[in-house]
Amino acid sequence: MQAKRPLDMRQALVVDGITKYFHLPKLPIWKRLAGIREQLPAPGKLPAVKNGAKQPLVAVDHVSFAVARGEIFGVLGPNGSGKSTLIRLISTLLTADKGSAKIFGFDIADDEMSVKRLISRVSVDAAFFKKLSPMENLLYGARLYGVTGPEATVKAYEIMGRLGLKRATYSEPMEEMSRGMQQKVAIARAFLTSPILLLLDEPTTGLDPRSKRDVRAFIEELRDSHDATILITTHDMEEADQICDRVAVIHNGKLVATGTPDELKRSIVDNGTLPTLEDVFIRLTGEQLIDVEGAESAPTS
């Protein structure tokens, strides 16, 4: 494992008791038109629904943690555990039902535009206009974030060159590129807008080993040379162990542990043998809760 650089301890992200429900029973339309909102269920209790209606669920359940500036913070959890919902809440694509999150002091609900200027998100499937070329997509994204065309063009050539993308592909439609190449362009797009907080939602899922290694290298470079803070969700325990300063494990929407990979491993050590992070993950998501550094408690600001 490579050495981690000292952290700037100012907090980049503070998530405090954030909660998101889906499929709560709808109020009658006249109440909704009058601006009356659904009453939120008590913690641990979900309302019963009529036959045929979707079962209510709590996708993110009173999750709290803090991420220091310059940190690479991993969120680990099985499929459907609430990782992507958490990322979408932080990236202002969902509104929280309870709790709050602040990015460098800006509240995601009250200071939405300020938050949007500070963040960028790379999702599991690179979201591009498939008929447009990498360069056209990058220029579109850059202009949205206030980077001028000439400035973005120079930077895009430089970044795509470093990512190993061939010049011939710069003007070809994205749909003709492999998924690994598309994901590299997604990383390049994030570089281009210089986010201070980068949200990566399973950025290496489905990539070949070489592409995974390239993407990881760029994540670390983004942190080291661009002073970015990175929140990453992943299924890849080896990846999390290698690049994350700290990780949080989320299961059924609840945060069940946070700590450095080594802290988490030491917390379940058996017979003097240090387990792998994967062992930790399996133990934690098997309903055994471990509170390494106060997971589930509200973060200090």
Binding site: T85, K116, D125, F128, F129, K131, Y145, G146, T193, S194
Partner: protein, 284 residues
């Protein structure tokens, strides 16, 4: 803490860059989907010609008793075809502001960008106006190859003023319709087609609204398309002076002043609802 890229950048310059982003993106999409543009041009031209040929065939259909001016009816239908082509292009492109993002899977990326929603909509609207104007002009030129257009008595400036005023209303209604794909991810885009077809039926595109049943005629009187068509026909067919076209321009501007802010407010409310219920997902 401002973003490093936007620090010190004036709001006007930033908004202009963002509008440019949407204009350039839409132009590239139109260019890349050029095959569909050819198809739509051919479809619009042939359907327009088919309608106008009805005027040419009316005498043959009804026998020698026809007591109307074939040239007048031809111009009446050409104006209906071209004005509808322009207004429907504005409506469709404006109302597809969200639908495009859903089709391409970019809705989350675009809606989490630091862009004020009115800037986003201005970008889409400017493109729809430009696209609508250029494509309608091309179809108009192509139609002129088939029919003799008598513009000797036409007040083109007055017609242009009516169409410009009507564009505002259609943009507002387009924004209102664009919330459907926000609220209904799977069926919203189809719903906007129903709205468009309803305007075509009630607004007197190919016939005077007086032939409609009373309840439809009442709806036609609040449709901005009706006023655009009546005003354009008065200016081109009757040569009505620009001062007289104000009877069409004033209601159109009033409708625009109502539909534009209403559309923006409704869009924002729908976006908030979509964020609360998780409907901004890229798939679905």
């Amino acid at each position: 803490m401002p973003n490093r890229m936007t620090r010190g950048m004036s709001a006007l310059r930033l908004n202009s860059l963002q509008v440019h982003a949407f204009l350039a993106r839409n132009w590239h999409l139109t260019r890349r989907y050029w095959g569909w543009e050819v198809v739509w041009f051919f479809y619009s031209l042939t359907s327009g010609l088919s309608v106008v040929f009805i005027a040419q065939g009316a005498e043959a259909l009804t026998g020698e008793a026809v007591g109307f001016d074939v040239q007048y009816l031809t111009m009446y239908l050409i104006i209906g075809t071209l004005v509808w082509r322009y207004l429907s292009a504005i409506f469709i492109l404006t109302s597809e502001v969200i639908a495009w993002e859903r089709w391409e899977g970019t809705i989350e990326y675009t809606l989490m960008a630091p862009v004020r929603r009115w800037v986003h909509l201005v970008g889409q609207t400017l493109y729809s106006l430009t696209y609508g104007l250029i494509t309608t002009l091309i179809i108009g030129i192509a139609m002129a190859l088939f029919f003799e257009l008598d513009l000797s008595n036409a007040n083109l400036i007055g017609a242009g003023a009516v169409i410009l005023a009507g564009s505002l209303s259609l943009v507002g209604i387009g924004i209102l319709a664009s919330i459907l794909p926000l609220l209904y991810p799977e069926r919203g885009a189809q719903m906007t087609n129903v709205v468009e077809a309803s305007f075509l039926l009630i607004s007197g595109v190919y016939y005077p609204i007086s032939v409609l049943p009373d309840w439809m005629e009442a709806l036609a009187r609040i449709s901005p398309v009706t006023y655009v068509l009546d005003g354009t026909r008065a200016a081109i067919l009757e040569g009505a002076p620009t001062s007289e076209t104000s009877q069409f321009i004033v209601p159109l501007l009033l409708l625009g002043f109502v539909t534009l802010p209403l559309g923006l407010r409704a869009f924002k409310a729908a976006e908030n609802y979509a964020k609360r219920t998780g409907r901004l997902k890229r798939v679905g």
